[in-house]
Protein backbone atom coordinates (compact mmCIF):
# COMPACT_ATOMS: atom_id res chain seq x y z
CA UNK A 1 0.00 0.00 0.00
CA UNK A 2 1.51 3.25 -1.14
CA UNK A 3 1.31 5.94 1.45
CA UNK A 4 1.51 9.11 -0.54
CA UNK A 5 -0.88 12.02 -0.85
CA UNK A 6 -1.87 12.86 -4.39
CA UNK A 7 -1.83 16.61 -4.86
CA UNK A 8 -4.49 17.96 -7.18
CA UNK A 9 -4.75 21.45 -8.75
CA UNK A 10 -1.72 23.00 -7.04
CA UNK A 11 -2.10 26.01 -9.32
CA UNK A 12 -5.44 27.00 -7.83
CA UNK A 13 -5.34 30.46 -6.27
CA UNK A 14 -6.25 30.24 -2.56
CA UNK A 15 -5.36 33.79 -1.47
CA UNK A 16 -6.31 35.95 -4.48
CA UNK A 17 -5.06 39.28 -3.09
CA UNK A 18 -1.67 37.83 -2.27
CA UNK A 19 -1.61 35.40 -5.24
CA UNK A 20 -0.85 32.47 -3.02
CA UNK A 21 -1.73 29.09 -4.50
CA UNK A 22 -2.94 25.82 -3.11
CA UNK A 23 0.49 24.40 -4.01
CA UNK A 24 2.12 26.92 -1.72
CA UNK A 25 -0.25 25.94 1.10
CA UNK A 26 0.69 22.29 0.58
CA UNK A 27 4.37 23.26 0.64
CA UNK A 28 3.79 25.14 3.86
CA UNK A 29 2.28 22.08 5.49
CA UNK A 30 5.07 19.87 4.15
CA UNK A 31 7.66 22.13 5.82
CA UNK A 32 5.76 22.88 9.02
CA UNK A 33 4.88 19.21 9.56
CA UNK A 34 7.56 18.54 12.21
CA UNK A 35 6.20 21.46 14.23
CA UNK A 36 2.46 21.05 13.77
CA UNK A 37 2.18 17.26 13.93
CA UNK A 38 2.80 16.95 17.69
CA UNK A 39 -0.35 19.03 18.25
CA UNK A 40 -2.41 16.98 15.80
CA UNK A 41 -1.19 13.48 16.51
CA UNK A 42 -3.94 11.02 17.49
CA UNK A 43 -6.52 13.79 17.65
CA UNK A 44 -9.79 13.52 15.74
CA UNK A 45 -9.94 16.32 13.20
CA UNK A 46 -12.86 18.48 12.23
CA UNK A 47 -12.35 19.54 8.66
CA UNK A 48 -13.18 22.91 7.27
CA UNK A 49 -12.78 22.53 3.55
CA UNK A 50 -12.38 25.57 1.33
CA UNK A 51 -11.51 24.10 -2.06
CA UNK A 52 -12.13 27.47 -3.70
CA UNK A 53 -9.80 29.41 -1.44
CA UNK A 54 -10.33 31.90 1.35
CA UNK A 55 -13.04 33.98 -0.32
CA UNK A 56 -15.39 31.04 -0.17
CA UNK A 57 -16.80 30.04 3.21
CA UNK A 58 -16.33 26.42 2.25
CA UNK A 59 -17.99 23.65 4.23
CA UNK A 60 -17.43 21.58 7.34
CA UNK A 61 -16.83 17.86 7.38
CA UNK A 62 -16.39 15.53 10.29
CA UNK A 63 -17.10 12.08 8.94
CA UNK A 64 -14.39 10.73 6.65
CA UNK A 65 -16.98 8.96 4.51
CA UNK A 66 -16.31 6.09 2.12
CA UNK A 67 -13.89 7.80 -0.22
CA UNK A 68 -11.07 8.05 2.28
CA UNK A 69 -7.94 6.11 1.22
CA UNK A 70 -7.13 3.05 3.27
CA UNK A 71 -3.82 4.40 4.51
CA UNK A 72 -5.45 7.37 6.23
CA UNK A 73 -6.08 6.67 9.88
CA UNK A 74 -9.62 7.18 11.07
CA UNK A 75 -11.34 6.79 14.41
CA UNK A 76 -15.02 6.24 15.12
CA UNK A 77 -16.71 8.26 17.84
CA UNK A 78 -20.35 8.31 18.82
CA UNK A 79 -21.77 11.80 18.36
CA UNK A 80 -23.93 12.35 21.39
CA UNK A 81 -26.04 15.00 19.70
CA UNK A 82 -27.20 12.72 16.90
CA UNK A 83 -26.52 9.25 18.30
CA UNK A 84 -24.64 8.41 15.10
CA UNK A 85 -21.11 7.14 14.73
CA UNK A 86 -18.75 9.65 13.17
CA UNK A 87 -15.57 8.38 11.56
CA UNK A 88 -12.99 11.11 12.14
CA UNK A 89 -9.74 11.60 10.21
CA UNK A 90 -6.64 11.31 12.37
CA UNK A 91 -3.38 12.81 11.09
CA UNK A 92 -0.20 11.26 12.43
CA UNK A 93 2.30 11.78 9.61
CA UNK A 94 3.24 14.23 6.92
CA UNK A 95 1.53 12.42 4.03
CA UNK A 96 -1.76 12.30 5.94
CA UNK A 97 -1.38 16.00 6.68
CA UNK A 98 -0.87 16.74 2.99
CA UNK A 99 -3.86 14.58 2.09
CA UNK A 100 -6.01 16.69 4.43
CA UNK A 101 -4.56 19.95 3.07
CA UNK A 102 -5.22 18.74 -0.47
CA UNK A 103 -8.90 18.37 0.43
CA UNK A 104 -8.89 22.15 0.74
CA UNK A 105 -8.35 22.36 4.47
CA UNK A 106 -6.56 25.65 4.93
CA UNK A 107 -6.80 25.44 8.68
CA UNK A 108 -6.30 22.41 10.92
CA UNK A 109 -8.79 21.87 13.73
CA UNK A 110 -7.81 19.02 16.05
CA UNK A 111 -9.64 17.97 19.21
CA UNK A 112 -8.36 18.90 22.67
CA UNK A 113 -8.01 15.20 23.54
CA UNK A 114 -6.45 12.21 21.82
CA UNK A 115 -8.06 8.93 20.82
CA UNK A 116 -6.04 7.15 23.53
CA UNK A 117 -7.75 9.12 26.24
CA UNK A 118 -10.68 10.72 24.54
CA UNK A 119 -12.43 12.00 27.68
CA UNK A 120 -9.40 13.76 29.11
CA UNK A 121 -8.18 16.86 27.28
CA UNK A 122 -4.48 17.63 27.08
CA UNK A 123 -5.16 21.30 27.63
CA UNK A 124 -7.68 23.91 28.55
CA UNK A 125 -7.95 26.73 26.06
CA UNK A 126 -9.23 30.24 26.56
CA UNK A 127 -10.37 31.74 23.30
CA UNK A 128 -10.13 35.52 23.28
CA UNK A 129 -12.52 36.57 20.58
CA UNK A 130 -12.73 40.33 19.93
CA UNK A 131 -15.47 42.26 18.13
CA UNK A 132 -14.57 44.21 14.98
CA UNK A 133 -14.53 47.34 17.13
CA UNK A 134 -11.69 46.10 19.35
CA UNK A 135 -8.02 46.67 18.69
CA UNK A 136 -5.43 43.94 19.04
CA UNK A 137 -4.11 45.89 22.04
CA UNK A 138 -7.45 45.14 23.74
CA UNK A 139 -6.91 41.44 23.00
CA UNK A 140 -3.45 41.70 24.54
CA UNK A 141 -4.89 43.27 27.69
CA UNK A 142 -7.23 40.29 28.09
CA UNK A 143 -4.40 37.79 27.47
CA UNK A 144 -2.25 39.52 30.07
CA UNK A 145 -5.11 39.45 32.57
CA UNK A 146 -5.38 35.69 32.06
CA UNK A 147 -1.62 35.46 32.49
CA UNK A 148 -1.89 37.45 35.72
CA UNK A 149 -4.51 35.04 37.11
CA UNK A 150 -2.41 32.05 36.04
CA UNK A 151 0.59 33.60 37.80
CA UNK A 152 -1.47 33.95 40.96
CA UNK A 153 -2.24 30.25 40.72
CA UNK A 154 1.42 29.56 39.95
CA UNK A 155 0.34 27.82 36.80
CA UNK A 156 2.06 28.00 33.44
CA UNK A 157 0.08 29.08 30.41
CA UNK A 158 1.01 29.29 26.76
CA UNK A 159 -0.33 31.76 24.26
CA UNK A 160 -0.59 32.06 20.53
CA UNK A 161 -2.23 34.32 18.05
CA UNK A 162 -5.33 32.71 16.63
CA UNK A 163 -4.07 33.75 13.22
CA UNK A 164 -7.21 35.84 12.81
CA UNK A 165 -8.15 38.68 15.16
CA UNK A 166 -7.87 36.97 18.53
CA UNK A 167 -5.56 35.03 20.79
CA UNK A 168 -5.65 31.63 22.46
CA UNK A 169 -4.22 30.88 25.89
CA UNK A 170 -3.56 27.20 26.61
CA UNK A 171 -3.14 25.68 30.05
CA UNK A 172 -1.65 22.17 30.03
CA UNK A 173 -3.97 19.65 31.69
CA UNK A 174 -1.92 16.51 31.01
CA UNK A 175 -5.02 14.34 30.45
CA UNK A 176 -5.51 14.28 34.20
CA UNK A 177 -8.96 15.81 34.32
CA UNK A 178 -12.11 15.32 32.34
CA UNK A 179 -13.90 17.71 30.01
CA UNK A 180 -16.36 18.82 32.70
CA UNK A 181 -13.51 19.87 34.94
CA UNK A 182 -11.74 21.55 32.04
CA UNK A 183 -14.86 23.48 31.20
CA UNK A 184 -15.50 24.49 34.81
CA UNK A 185 -11.92 25.64 35.17
CA UNK A 186 -12.15 27.65 31.96
CA UNK A 187 -15.47 29.13 33.01
CA UNK A 188 -14.02 30.11 36.37
CA UNK A 189 -11.06 31.77 34.65
CA UNK A 190 -13.41 33.53 32.25
CA UNK A 191 -15.51 34.89 35.11
CA UNK A 192 -12.39 36.09 36.88
CA UNK A 193 -11.32 37.89 33.72
CA UNK A 194 -14.69 39.60 33.36
CA UNK A 195 -14.59 40.53 37.05
CA UNK A 196 -11.26 42.24 36.43
CA UNK A 197 -12.10 43.74 33.03
CA UNK A 198 -15.88 44.31 33.28
CA UNK A 199 -16.04 46.88 30.51
CA UNK A 200 -13.78 45.25 28.00
CA UNK A 201 -14.90 41.63 28.29
CA UNK A 202 -18.13 39.67 28.23
CA UNK A 203 -19.29 36.09 28.57
CA UNK A 204 -22.36 36.79 26.46
CA UNK A 205 -22.50 34.22 23.67
CA UNK A 206 -25.18 35.91 21.64
CA UNK A 207 -23.64 38.39 19.21
CA UNK A 208 -26.81 40.47 19.32
CA UNK A 209 -26.60 40.89 23.08
CA UNK A 210 -22.91 41.72 23.20
CA UNK A 211 -21.93 45.35 23.35
CA UNK A 212 -20.31 46.54 20.18
CA UNK A 213 -16.81 46.88 21.53
CA UNK A 214 -16.56 43.92 23.87
CA UNK A 215 -14.27 40.94 23.74
CA UNK A 216 -15.89 37.55 24.19
CA UNK A 217 -13.95 35.31 26.56
CA UNK A 218 -14.99 31.97 25.16
CA UNK A 219 -14.61 29.14 27.65
CA UNK A 220 -16.98 26.82 25.82
CA UNK A 221 -14.23 25.56 23.51
CA UNK A 222 -13.42 23.11 26.30
CA UNK A 223 -16.23 20.73 25.55
CA UNK A 224 -15.65 17.39 23.90
CA UNK A 225 -15.53 17.72 20.14
CA UNK A 226 -14.91 21.47 20.11
CA UNK A 227 -11.96 22.60 18.07
CA UNK A 228 -9.85 25.68 17.46
CA UNK A 229 -7.20 26.31 14.85
CA UNK A 230 -4.11 24.39 15.92
CA UNK A 231 -0.75 25.99 16.70
CA UNK A 232 1.04 26.64 13.35
CA UNK A 233 -2.19 26.16 11.41
CA UNK A 234 -2.57 28.46 8.43
CA UNK A 235 -5.73 30.57 8.50
CA UNK A 236 -8.02 31.49 5.62
CA UNK A 237 -7.39 35.18 6.29
CA UNK A 238 -5.79 38.00 4.30
CA UNK A 239 -2.02 37.77 4.41
CA UNK A 240 -1.97 33.97 4.82
CA UNK A 241 -1.48 34.31 8.54
CA UNK A 242 -0.74 31.42 10.88
CA UNK A 243 -1.59 30.76 14.49
CA UNK A 244 1.76 31.65 16.03
CA UNK A 245 2.91 30.63 19.52
CA UNK A 246 4.36 33.59 21.43
CA UNK A 247 6.66 34.26 24.33
CA UNK A 248 4.82 36.09 27.08
CA UNK A 249 7.40 38.86 26.83
CA UNK A 250 6.24 39.47 23.27
CA UNK A 251 2.64 39.92 24.39
CA UNK A 252 2.72 43.70 24.49
CA UNK A 253 0.80 46.54 22.93
CA UNK A 254 1.84 46.98 19.34
CA UNK A 255 2.10 43.29 18.52
CA UNK A 256 0.20 42.40 15.36
CA UNK A 257 -1.09 38.95 14.42
CA UNK A 258 -0.46 39.88 10.79
CA UNK A 259 3.27 39.61 11.44
CA UNK A 260 3.16 35.83 11.34
CA UNK A 261 2.51 34.23 7.97
CA UNK A 262 3.07 30.95 6.16
CA UNK A 263 6.01 32.69 4.47
CA UNK A 264 7.94 34.07 7.43
CA UNK A 265 7.14 31.74 10.32
CA UNK A 266 10.16 29.55 9.56
CA UNK A 267 12.67 32.31 10.36
CA UNK A 268 11.01 32.70 13.71
CA UNK A 269 11.07 28.95 14.35
CA UNK A 270 14.77 28.87 13.57
CA UNK A 271 15.40 31.55 16.17
CA UNK A 272 12.98 30.59 18.90
CA UNK A 273 12.17 26.93 18.30
CA UNK A 274 8.77 25.55 19.21
CA UNK A 275 7.44 27.80 21.98
CA UNK A 276 4.37 25.65 22.44
CA UNK A 277 6.04 22.42 23.63
CA UNK A 278 5.03 22.94 27.24
CA UNK A 279 1.37 22.60 26.31
CA UNK A 280 1.91 18.84 25.94
CA UNK A 281 3.82 18.71 29.22
CA UNK A 282 2.91 17.31 32.60
CA UNK A 283 -0.17 19.39 33.17
CA UNK A 284 -1.10 21.51 36.11
CA UNK A 285 -2.13 20.29 39.55
CA UNK A 286 -5.63 21.67 39.66
CA UNK A 287 -5.99 21.16 43.41
CA UNK A 288 -2.89 23.15 44.19
CA UNK A 289 -3.77 25.83 41.69
CA UNK A 290 -7.19 26.34 43.25
CA UNK A 291 -5.71 26.50 46.71
CA UNK A 292 -3.38 29.26 45.64
CA UNK A 293 -6.38 31.18 44.48
CA UNK A 294 -8.52 30.66 47.55
CA UNK A 295 -8.81 33.76 49.65
CA UNK A 296 -9.33 33.02 53.31
CA UNK A 297 -12.88 33.77 54.43
CA UNK A 298 -13.03 37.14 56.08
CA UNK A 299 -14.88 37.52 59.31
Amino acid sequence: MKKKAEITHPEKIYWPDEHITKGELIDYYRNIAPYILPYMKNRPLSLRRQPNGIKDEGFFQKDAGDSVPEWIKTFEILAESTGKMVNYHVVNDVESLLYIANLGCIEMNPWNSTINKIDNPDWVVMDIDPSDKNTFDDVIDVALTIKQILDEMEVEGFCKTSGASGMHVYIPFGRKYDYDQARDFAEMLAHMVTERLPRLTTLERSLAKRKKNQIYVDYLQNRIGQTLACAYSARPKPGATVSAPLEWSEVQHGLSPKDFTIKNIFDRLEQKGDLFKGVLGKGINLNKALQKLSVPVQD
Partner: protein
Protein backbone atom coordinates in the same frame (compact mmCIF):
# COMPACT_ATOMS: atom_id res chain seq x y z
CA UNK B 1 -58.88 36.48 51.78
CA UNK B 2 -60.37 36.01 48.34
CA UNK B 3 -61.38 32.71 46.83
CA UNK B 4 -59.40 31.80 43.73
CA UNK B 5 -61.69 29.06 42.48
CA UNK B 6 -65.05 27.63 43.24
CA UNK B 7 -66.37 24.23 42.32
CA UNK B 8 -67.05 20.97 44.01
CA UNK B 9 -65.32 17.96 45.45
CA UNK B 10 -66.70 14.83 43.83
CA UNK B 11 -66.73 12.08 46.38
CA UNK B 12 -68.65 8.97 45.42
CA UNK B 13 -72.17 10.03 44.62
CA UNK B 14 -71.95 13.26 46.57
CA UNK B 15 -70.69 16.59 45.35
CA UNK B 16 -69.46 18.99 47.98
CA UNK B 17 -69.53 22.59 46.70
CA UNK B 18 -66.42 24.42 47.93
CA UNK B 19 -64.33 27.53 47.51
CA UNK B 20 -60.56 27.44 47.25
CA UNK B 21 -58.25 29.90 49.04
CA UNK B 22 -54.48 30.20 48.92
CA UNK B 23 -53.04 28.92 52.16
CA UNK B 24 -49.65 30.58 51.81
CA UNK B 25 -48.36 34.06 51.21
CA UNK B 26 -44.99 35.35 50.18
CA UNK B 27 -43.19 36.81 53.14
CA UNK B 28 -40.96 39.03 51.07
CA UNK B 29 -41.10 42.80 51.14
CA UNK B 30 -42.51 44.32 48.01
CA UNK B 31 -39.57 46.30 46.66
CA UNK B 32 -39.71 48.40 43.52
CA UNK B 33 -36.92 48.73 40.99
CA UNK B 34 -35.80 52.32 40.44
CA UNK B 35 -33.28 54.23 38.41
CA UNK B 36 -30.38 55.05 40.72
CA UNK B 37 -30.22 58.61 39.41
CA UNK B 38 -33.76 59.97 39.74
CA UNK B 39 -35.69 57.12 41.41
CA UNK B 40 -38.02 56.76 38.45
CA UNK B 41 -39.80 53.39 38.35
CA UNK B 42 -38.34 50.79 36.04
CA UNK B 43 -40.71 49.19 33.63
CA UNK B 44 -40.21 46.26 31.36
CA UNK B 45 -40.43 46.07 27.64
CA UNK B 46 -40.57 43.02 25.46
CA UNK B 47 -38.00 43.60 22.76
CA UNK B 48 -36.97 41.79 19.63
CA UNK B 49 -33.55 40.26 20.32
CA UNK B 50 -32.37 41.06 16.80
CA UNK B 51 -33.66 44.58 16.24
CA UNK B 52 -33.85 45.75 19.86
CA UNK B 53 -37.29 47.22 19.10
CA UNK B 54 -40.32 46.75 21.31
CA UNK B 55 -42.80 44.06 20.27
CA UNK B 56 -46.50 44.52 20.96
CA UNK B 57 -48.35 41.84 22.86
CA UNK B 58 -50.51 40.98 19.88
CA UNK B 59 -47.39 40.21 17.86
CA UNK B 60 -45.91 37.83 20.40
CA UNK B 61 -46.30 34.11 19.82
CA UNK B 62 -44.85 31.19 21.68
CA UNK B 63 -42.63 28.58 20.11
CA UNK B 64 -40.63 25.53 20.96
CA UNK B 65 -37.18 24.94 19.52
CA UNK B 66 -36.85 21.72 17.55
CA UNK B 67 -33.32 21.27 16.30
CA UNK B 68 -32.58 24.76 15.03
CA UNK B 69 -36.07 25.89 14.15
CA UNK B 70 -39.00 27.07 16.16
CA UNK B 71 -42.37 25.40 16.00
CA UNK B 72 -44.87 28.16 16.72
CA UNK B 73 -47.99 27.31 18.71
CA UNK B 74 -51.27 29.20 18.59
CA UNK B 75 -54.24 29.32 20.96
CA UNK B 76 -55.98 26.37 19.34
CA UNK B 77 -52.89 24.21 19.83
CA UNK B 78 -52.86 24.96 23.53
CA UNK B 79 -56.57 24.26 23.73
CA UNK B 80 -56.17 20.91 22.06
CA UNK B 81 -53.52 19.87 24.55
CA UNK B 82 -55.35 21.22 27.60
CA UNK B 83 -57.38 18.86 29.70
CA UNK B 84 -61.11 19.42 29.77
CA UNK B 85 -61.94 22.20 32.15
CA UNK B 86 -63.97 20.99 35.03
CA UNK B 87 -65.55 22.39 38.08
CA UNK B 88 -65.05 19.22 40.02
CA UNK B 89 -62.17 17.93 42.07
CA UNK B 90 -62.78 14.26 41.57
CA UNK B 91 -61.46 12.06 44.36
CA UNK B 92 -60.38 8.90 42.61
CA UNK B 93 -58.89 7.01 45.51
CA UNK B 94 -57.92 7.22 49.14
CA UNK B 95 -54.38 6.69 50.33
CA UNK B 96 -52.51 6.57 53.57
CA UNK B 97 -50.94 9.97 54.11
CA UNK B 98 -47.77 8.46 55.53
CA UNK B 99 -47.09 6.81 52.19
CA UNK B 100 -46.65 10.12 50.43
CA UNK B 101 -43.14 11.44 50.45
CA UNK B 102 -42.84 15.15 51.25
CA UNK B 103 -40.93 15.66 48.01
CA UNK B 104 -44.25 15.48 46.14
CA UNK B 105 -45.92 18.29 48.08
CA UNK B 106 -46.47 21.58 46.33
CA UNK B 107 -48.76 24.53 47.11
CA UNK B 108 -51.41 24.12 49.80
CA UNK B 109 -54.90 25.64 49.60
CA UNK B 110 -57.75 25.94 52.08
CA UNK B 111 -61.15 24.58 51.20
CA UNK B 112 -64.32 26.21 52.52
CA UNK B 113 -67.76 24.66 52.04
CA UNK B 114 -70.59 26.54 50.38
CA UNK B 115 -73.83 26.61 52.34
CA UNK B 116 -75.25 23.51 50.75
CA UNK B 117 -72.01 21.63 51.32
CA UNK B 118 -71.56 22.09 55.04
CA UNK B 119 -72.77 18.67 56.03
CA UNK B 120 -70.93 16.50 53.47
CA UNK B 121 -67.79 18.63 54.02
CA UNK B 122 -67.85 17.79 57.73
CA UNK B 123 -68.58 14.17 56.96
CA UNK B 124 -65.62 13.83 54.58
CA UNK B 125 -63.33 15.66 57.01
CA UNK B 126 -64.23 13.51 59.97
CA UNK B 127 -64.18 10.27 58.02
CA UNK B 128 -60.70 11.10 56.76
CA UNK B 129 -59.59 11.80 60.33
CA UNK B 130 -61.05 8.58 61.56
CA UNK B 131 -59.39 6.46 58.87
CA UNK B 132 -56.11 8.42 58.76
CA UNK B 133 -56.43 8.63 54.99
CA UNK B 134 -56.50 11.42 52.48
CA UNK B 135 -58.21 11.73 49.14
CA UNK B 136 -56.19 11.72 45.94
CA UNK B 137 -57.76 13.36 42.92
CA UNK B 138 -57.35 15.59 39.94
CA UNK B 139 -58.70 18.95 38.92
CA UNK B 140 -58.00 21.61 36.35
CA UNK B 141 -56.66 25.00 37.38
CA UNK B 142 -55.35 27.50 34.83
CA UNK B 143 -55.61 25.04 31.95
CA UNK B 144 -53.36 22.53 33.59
CA UNK B 145 -54.41 19.31 35.13
CA UNK B 146 -53.24 19.10 38.69
CA UNK B 147 -52.86 16.24 41.07
CA UNK B 148 -54.18 17.04 44.53
CA UNK B 149 -54.46 15.59 47.98
CA UNK B 150 -57.38 16.45 50.21
CA UNK B 151 -56.67 16.05 53.88
CA UNK B 152 -58.20 17.16 57.15
CA UNK B 153 -56.53 19.66 59.41
CA UNK B 154 -58.47 20.83 62.46
CA UNK B 155 -61.87 22.00 61.23
CA UNK B 156 -60.63 22.42 57.72
CA UNK B 157 -60.08 20.39 54.65
CA UNK B 158 -56.82 21.28 53.00
CA UNK B 159 -56.12 20.76 49.36
CA UNK B 160 -52.47 20.20 48.61
CA UNK B 161 -51.23 20.23 45.05
CA UNK B 162 -48.73 17.46 44.56
CA UNK B 163 -46.19 16.88 41.87
CA UNK B 164 -46.38 14.27 39.16
CA UNK B 165 -43.71 11.61 39.25
CA UNK B 166 -42.02 12.99 36.13
CA UNK B 167 -41.41 16.30 37.87
CA UNK B 168 -39.07 14.64 40.34
CA UNK B 169 -35.48 14.43 39.23
CA UNK B 170 -33.60 11.21 39.03
CA UNK B 171 -30.97 10.77 41.72
CA UNK B 172 -28.69 8.54 39.65
CA UNK B 173 -26.17 11.29 39.09
CA UNK B 174 -25.67 11.99 42.76
CA UNK B 175 -22.72 10.36 44.34
CA UNK B 176 -23.43 8.80 47.74
CA UNK B 177 -20.69 6.28 48.39
CA UNK B 178 -21.28 3.32 50.68
CA UNK B 179 -19.51 3.60 54.01
CA UNK B 180 -19.15 1.30 56.98
CA UNK B 181 -20.33 2.69 60.29
CA UNK B 182 -19.04 1.39 63.59
CA UNK B 183 -21.66 0.60 66.26
CA UNK B 184 -19.97 3.08 68.65
CA UNK B 185 -20.30 5.87 66.10
CA UNK B 186 -23.92 5.03 65.55
CA UNK B 187 -24.62 5.01 69.29
CA UNK B 188 -23.10 8.44 69.64
CA UNK B 189 -25.14 9.86 66.80
CA UNK B 190 -28.36 8.36 68.11
CA UNK B 191 -27.67 9.77 71.55
CA UNK B 192 -27.09 13.20 70.15
CA UNK B 193 -30.34 13.05 68.21
CA UNK B 194 -32.25 11.95 71.29
CA UNK B 195 -30.79 14.76 73.34
CA UNK B 196 -31.90 17.34 70.84
CA UNK B 197 -35.33 15.86 70.20
CA UNK B 198 -38.26 18.16 71.01
CA UNK B 199 -41.82 18.59 69.88
CA UNK B 200 -42.08 20.24 66.51
CA UNK B 201 -43.01 23.90 66.93
CA UNK B 202 -42.61 25.98 63.81
CA UNK B 203 -43.15 29.23 65.73
CA UNK B 204 -39.70 28.78 67.25
CA UNK B 205 -38.28 29.72 63.87
CA UNK B 206 -38.63 33.10 62.25
CA UNK B 207 -37.49 34.47 58.94
CA UNK B 208 -35.82 37.59 60.27
CA UNK B 209 -34.42 38.90 57.01
CA UNK B 210 -37.49 40.90 56.08
CA UNK B 211 -37.89 42.24 59.57
CA UNK B 212 -34.33 43.51 59.53
CA UNK B 213 -34.73 44.89 56.05
CA UNK B 214 -37.86 46.75 57.05
CA UNK B 215 -36.13 48.20 60.11
CA UNK B 216 -33.35 49.37 57.88
CA UNK B 217 -35.82 50.97 55.48
CA UNK B 218 -37.55 52.83 58.31
CA UNK B 219 -34.24 54.00 59.71
CA UNK B 220 -33.15 55.15 56.26
CA UNK B 221 -36.40 57.00 55.81
CA UNK B 222 -35.60 58.89 59.00
CA UNK B 223 -32.09 59.56 57.76
CA UNK B 224 -30.20 57.22 60.10
CA UNK B 225 -27.55 54.87 58.81
CA UNK B 226 -27.70 51.47 60.48
CA UNK B 227 -24.44 49.60 60.86
CA UNK B 228 -23.77 47.34 57.93
CA UNK B 229 -23.56 43.63 58.61
CA UNK B 230 -20.13 42.34 57.81
CA UNK B 231 -20.03 40.24 54.67
CA UNK B 232 -18.84 36.75 55.38
CA UNK B 233 -18.12 35.49 51.92
CA UNK B 234 -17.45 37.43 48.80
CA UNK B 235 -19.91 35.80 46.50
CA UNK B 236 -19.24 35.56 42.83
CA UNK B 237 -19.72 33.16 39.99
CA UNK B 238 -16.02 32.39 39.79
CA UNK B 239 -16.06 31.43 43.46
CA UNK B 240 -19.02 29.12 42.92
CA UNK B 241 -17.18 27.43 40.10
CA UNK B 242 -14.09 27.11 42.21
CA UNK B 243 -16.10 25.33 44.87
CA UNK B 244 -17.68 23.09 42.26
CA UNK B 245 -14.29 22.18 40.83
CA UNK B 246 -12.87 21.40 44.25
CA UNK B 247 -15.80 19.12 44.88
CA UNK B 248 -15.25 17.32 41.61
CA UNK B 249 -11.59 16.84 42.46
CA UNK B 250 -12.42 15.47 45.88
CA UNK B 251 -14.87 12.94 44.47
CA UNK B 252 -13.51 9.50 43.66
CA UNK B 253 -12.18 9.27 40.13
CA UNK B 254 -14.97 8.99 37.66
CA UNK B 255 -14.73 6.31 35.07
CA UNK B 256 -14.38 7.63 31.58
CA UNK B 257 -17.79 7.31 30.03
Amino acid sequence: MRAIWSGAIGFGLVNIPVKLFSAVQASELDLDMLDKKDHANIHFQRVNANTGREVKWENIVRGYKVEDNYVVLDESDFEKASPEKSKIIEIAEFVDEKEIDSIYYETPYYLQPEKSGVKPYALLRDALKKTGKCGLGTYVLRNRESLVLIKPQGDLLILNKIRFAEEIRDTDELNIPDVKIKPAEMNMAVQLIEQLTTDFDITNYKDTYNEKLLKLIMAKAKGKKPAATKMKVVHSKSRDLMAQLKESLAAPKRKAS
